[in-house]
């Protein structure tokens, strides 16, 4: 059996080992990786870049900690960009494991704005976190009537009407757009309930594996932007601040892709050689 035939019948543990080595080695290097920007991510960036002082956006952190690696970089980049434009953010989570994570995210962003942009972000004036409520479909529909129906108070149990920025927000009519970051069926509910029923603009950020499913909605105009997985997050970071967690992770992803492609090629070569040998023997 020659080397290619052996490669065609490789034990999967060698694949795991080599992949792990390549991923770790990439993290230890520092080569820069340019990222091509797609139209669907660019449209979200341009929208956020066009926000003015006092514009309000709704950000939905609707994913579990499992999807944190892909979706957190998007959340950080979009919210930092929006706050830098002096927009105000209403933050919710409709994923039952997401509340603590979303709160941590908000507090980190407030610190980041202070350190990186020298901006004092005040809770209640620039950003508010409404927390988690079950039955996401009903919550999304109710917010279209009035935010106070599903969320009479925020995550910290402060009545909504006593929060300064919420005084001028009744429902989606005051929201410029919803930027929904999720990893499940909640995305479909935002599109079907918020956009189709109330006409609010929706852009989404999803895990890489789900991204291909949402191109129909992009083509039909039901969403105006789509960030898919780590790549989408890296594209946004490139547009906004040229570097970040996703951009770093993309180097690892690209290296892993190269390894997988090489294995596929060698596996096919081994497969063809074995098949040819088998035919010759016959």
């Amino acid at each position: 059996m020659n080397i290619f035939e052996k490669l065609g019948k490789l034990d999967r543990r060698w694949i795991f080992l080599l992949l792990a080595i390549v991923c770790v080695a990439t993290l230890l290097t520092s080569f820069r990786m340019p990222v091509r920007i797609s139209r669907e991510v660019n449209s979200i960036y341009e929208f956020v870049d066009s926000l003015k002082t006092g514009d309000i956006i709704h950000v939905g952190i609707d994913y579990d900690p499992n999807a944190l690696a892909e979706l957190h970089p998007m959340a950080y980049a979009v919210m930092e960009h929006a706050l830098q434009r002096h927009a105000t953010i209403v933050l919710t989570t409709l994923s039952q494991n997401g509340a603590g994570m979303a709160e941590r995210l908000m507090l980190d962003i407030i610190d980041t704005m202070k350190v990186r942009h020298n901006m004092e972000i005040k809770y209640g004036r620039d950003i508010v976190f409404l927390g988690y409520k079950p039955y996401y479909s009903i919550v999304i529909l109710s917010m279209g009537e009035n935010y106070r129906i599903p969320f009479p108070a925020d995550y910290y149990n402060t009545v909504l009407d006593s929060i300064p920025m919420m005084k001028s927000i009744q429902n989606y009519d005051q929201i410029k757009a919803v930027i929904e970051l999720g990893s499940g069926n909640i995305i479909d509910a935002w599109i079907a309930d918020a956009n189709a029923r109330y006409g609010v603009k929706v852009a989404i950020g999803v895990t890489g594996v789900m991204a291909a499913d949402y191109y129909p909605y992009l083509r039909s105009g039901q969403i105006f932007g789509l960030m898919g997985g780590m790549l989408g997050a890296a594209e946004y970071e490139q547009l906004f601040r040229k570097q970040g967690t996703a951009s770093e992770a993309m180097r690892v992803q690209v290296s892993a892709h190269v390894v997988i492609i090489l294995f596929i090629i060698f596996g096919n070569i081994g497969f063809f050689i074995s098949r040819k040998k088998g035919r010759s023997a016959v």
Partner: protein
């Protein structure tokens, strides 16, 4: 000492100061934003359609100063009163260039935003400048919010449901009359019998995974039917069956399904309740448990039929590692590629729903399958009609299919 002349001078100066203060500031008069913008025109208020009341839609034509004229309008404020004379209370704001605002409220009487139905309301719309000056329109109304019993905007969906129901009932009646209905072969379903036979020969169990759906998910309901048929065969062949469940309600239904199947096969004593058990409702903890079961029990056959998410490849690859033959089926479009790549047979989307009809060949189930096929043909005809209409600009055809609200 103040002379008379000085005193008169002071009085005149004070008078001039008062008169000067009373004059409008010529600089302020010409400064943009202090003069209120022109009000919006043609304000109308109508009951919002297709809802449970508690809502009135206000429409208007843009103020001439919005986008044109002095371009000073930054937003519109909407006011509501119970009489034409007022008092009017602010209900909300709309951005500049907006021509519509939907005033909504709640049904709870103790809520500050309570919106009574069947009560006359009047609306005014004010164009607002950056300086806060308002150009108020005339009052529109009276209008009442009312509840509707039928959502007209969903009529295309209603017609589609009725059409499909009629097709299903027609083909079921045809199937009852023993009409020969052809169903194309489904490789995955045909492989089930062979897979069960393989497990019996090898003396290894069969692992049946119903996925992460609840008992309300159609994929899970389809899976119950297949489970019943598989369990009956398993009971007849005296193989063992393992069914780890993600949802407790699914577990109780699955236990009942398997138990009944064993009874039907004439082997009630062979049924073990512990073979169908609850694991956890945490996605990856469930995967870890099922993977552990696969590597310990080394089942000969793995059946993944139901609703799966990110764990699909984890399950399928571990099953491949254990050397099991794998048959999968899911309606989660994103997971189908993973199953196609890692499993021996895959039922794609609706093939999972068709599996129960295919296995049993019962006329009633076969009839509904034919109805689906004809419904698909109808959809293709409608799509072609829509494309033709778009090419020739016959927008009324496209509007027939539009679903609102």
């Amino acid at each position: 000492m103040i002379t008379r002349k000085t005193a008169w001078l002071i009085v005149v100066m004070m008078l001039m100061a008062v008169v000067g203060w009373a004059q409008p500031n010529p600089v302020a008069e010409e400064a943009p934003g202090v003069t209120p913008p022109a009000p919006p025109t043609a304000v109308t208020a109508t009951d919002s359609p297709d809802d449970a009341g508690r809502s009135i839609t206000v429409r208007w034509q843009l103020s001439p100063d919005d986008g044109g004229g002095r371009s000073t309008v930054i937003q519109y404020k909407i006011f509501r009163g119970e009489t034409a004379e007022g008092p009017f209370v602010e209900r909300g704001v709309a951005l500049s260039l907006a021509k519509i605002y939907v005033d909504r409220g709640t049904e709870a009487t103790n809520d500050p935003n309570f919106f009574p139905n069947k009560t006359d309301f009047y609306y005014k719309v004010a164009a607002v400048s950056a300086a806060g000056a308002e150009g108020m329109s005339a009052a529109a109304g009276p209008t009442q919010a009312t509840e509707q019993w039928y959502n007209i905007g969903r009529t295309p969906t209603f017609v589609a449901v009725l059409t499909f129901t009629a097709l299903t009932l027609y083909f079921i009646s045809r199937a009852r009359k023993k009409a020969d209905l052809y169903i194309r072969p489904l490789a995955g379903i045909e492989a089930v019998d062979e897979a069960i036979g393989r497990a019996t020969e090898m003396g290894r169990p069969i692992l049946y995974v119903m996925g992460l759906g609840t008992a309300a998910d159609i994929a899970t309901i389809a899976s119950f039917t297949i489970l019943g048929r598989v369990a009956k065969k398993v009971a007849e062949y005296q193989t063992s069956l393992i069914v780890p469940c993600y949802d407790p309600i699914v577990m109780t239904v699955a236990q009942e399904t398997v138990k009944t199947a064993y009874y039907d096969a004439g082997r009630p004593d062979a049924f073990k309740e512990d073979s169908v058990y609850f694991v956890t409702q945490s996605q990856f903890a469930y995967v870890a448990a099922v993977n552990g079961t696969m590597l310990r029990e080394l089942p000969a056959t793995n059946l993944y039929l139901g609703k799966f998410y990110a764990e699909s490849l984890l399950l399928a690859e571990t099953g491949a590692l254990a050397g099991s033959i794998q048959i999968s089926g899911t309606d989660e479009v994103a997971q189908i590629p993973f199953f196609v790549v890692a499993c021996d047979y895959t039922l794609i989307g609706e093939e999972l729903y068709a599996a129960s009809a295919y296995l049993g060949r019962e006329p009633l189930l076969m009839g509904s399958l034919k109805a689906q096929d004809y419904a698909k043909a109808l959809i293709i005809v409608c799509a072609l009609a829509g494309i033709t209409a778009s090419i020739f600009g016959w927008t009324w055809i496209v509007e027939l299919f539009r679903v609102t609200n």
